[in-house]
């Protein structure tokens, strides 16, 4: 049992890195997606809606496989870790698009009407009035997305990234101690999720207007 700890710790670090990169990429895709969905251009709105529908309408695993195994056919050569980050990031970005859009739409209409009446331009209204308020609203729901994303990083075990789930599976096979391995990996996942949850509640509390 003791012998496996270093491997699980190394794997946990891979899972944490995956989670961080995926969150950053997801937030970028989500912001761009939300901007497209709320844009005045019909084409951009369509592109945003198609992005959300296609990436939420098909399994993340298939998206990963298309990128990792199918990518070389269209000239995209990625190692498993890169494919994992890009695949998961673009996937969670589609969910984050809806979260961010929802928060922006939830800001009271009167705010943007008042700002426009006061002479602010459309982009000034968005940047100085709507977004600061929407940002506070989206922290908690984005936290839900990030929670799902951390568990979702397990999928990259299927393209043989040596992260926690892959490591657990490997040592279930070699130690014949399935429950111990499951519990060990499970506890590490829960610690990662718990700490992330604490960070998000802290952010949420700080951002809230009393």
């Amino acid at each position: 049992m003791l012998r496996v700890y270093p491997f699980f710790l190394a794997a946990a670090w891979v899972t944490i890195q995956l989670s961080i990169y995926t969150t950053v990429l997801g937030l970028i895709c989500g912001s761009l997606g939300a901007a497209a969905r709320l844009s005045r251009s019909r084409i951009l709105r369509f592109v945003g809606a198609a992005y959300v529908s296609l990436f939420r309408g098909t399994p993340a695993l298939i998206q990963l496989f298309i990128l990792y195994f199918g990518g070389p056919q269209i000239g995209i050569q990625l190692d498993a870790f890169e494919a994992g980050v890009i695949g998961l990031g673009v996937n969670i970005g589609a969910y984050m698009t809806e979260t961010i859009r929802g928060a922006i739409v939830a800001v009271d209409r009167g705010q943007s009407e008042a700002a426009r009446t006061l002479g602010l331009s459309r982009s000034e209204t968005m940047r100085k009035v709507i977004l600061p308020q929407a940002a506070r609203l989206m922290i908690r729901p984005l936290g839900v997305n990030i929670n799902a994303l951390i568990k979702g990083t397990a999928l990259v075990a299927a393209i043989s990234v040596v992260e926690l789930t892959y490591t657990a599976q490997r040592y279930i096979g070699s130690t014949y101690k399935p429950f111990e391995m499951f519990l060990l990996a499970g506890v590490i996942y829960m610690v990662i999720i718990y700490v992330t949850g604490l960070a998000i509640s802290w952010l949420d509390r700080r951002a809230r207007i009393s």
Binding site: T58, P59, F65, K151, A154, L155, T165, F182, G186, Y194
Partner: protein
């Protein structure tokens, strides 16, 4: 290697069979997750502490860990304690239990939202505690939470792709079979994605129909 989508139609039947299995496994897991979800919700709210706490612990474990890890535990892990499940059964049980925990959470909030007068009224009319829960409270609670449960079922359909990893021959694995013969992963994974998307559209339409039907007239 270049793209060649003309080879996909010759594997159409294979993908269709795969889609059939994906629908079957999703349906079986959905029923399991719904029934067990109700059971968990009722136990978590009304059960004696002796069963309430183990159920909560179970829910907490299942919500905090990845589905893939749970599938590995059920399929590869249970063998070591003498339970050798076929891959299909392990897949259904894994998916079913995973989503049962999420459904249970939603159903619990539905039960809490049912008017207290309903419980008191039913008990006054002479129904037993169990009858009241089973016939009065749960049906109303479930009806009110059909939309969020529907969202879980859509997530379940997509997560059913994970059972390919433990060797259940559903859509993802049939695509992999075609790929191992043709070496054209891009085309076949894309074809599988299209199949998932179509099944998803069908499921969404079905759920919208269901939501319309169970809506209480207010």
């Amino acid at each position: 290697m270049t793209l060649d989508f003309t080879i996909v139609p010759s594997y159409f039947t294979l993908l269709l069979i795969g889609s059939g299995w994906t629908i079957a496994i999703t349906a079986a897991a959905a029923v399991l997750s719904f029934v067990v979800g109700i059971l968990f919700a009722v136990i978590a709210l009304y059960g004696p502490a002796l069963v309430r706490y183990p159920i909560r612990l179970f829910a907490w474990l299942f919500m905090g860990t990845p589905l893939l890890l749970q599938l590995f535990l059920i399929y590869f892990g249970l063998i070591q304690i003498g339970i050798d499940l076929p891959a299909f059964a392990a897949g259904v049980i894994g998916l079913g239990l995973h989503f049962a925990v999420y459904n249970s959470d939603i159903i619990q909030s539905g039960i809490r939202a049912v008017d207290k007068g309903q419980y008191e009224g039913a008990r006054t009319l002479g129904l037993s505690r169990l009858q009241t829960i089973a016939r009065i409270i749960v049906p109303q609670a479930v009806r009110s939470v059909i939309p969020p449960i529907g969202n879980n079922m859509i997530a379940l359909l997509k997560d059913s792709a994970l059972v390919s990893v433990i060797g259940v021959t559903e859509l993802t694995l049939t695509a992999q079979l075609a790929i191992s013969k043709t070496f054209h992963p891009f085309e076949f994974y894309l074809a599988a994605a299209v199949c998932y998307y179509v099944i998803n559209l069908g499921l969404e339409a079905g759920l919208r129909h269901l939501e319309g039907r169970v809506q209480l007239s207010r």
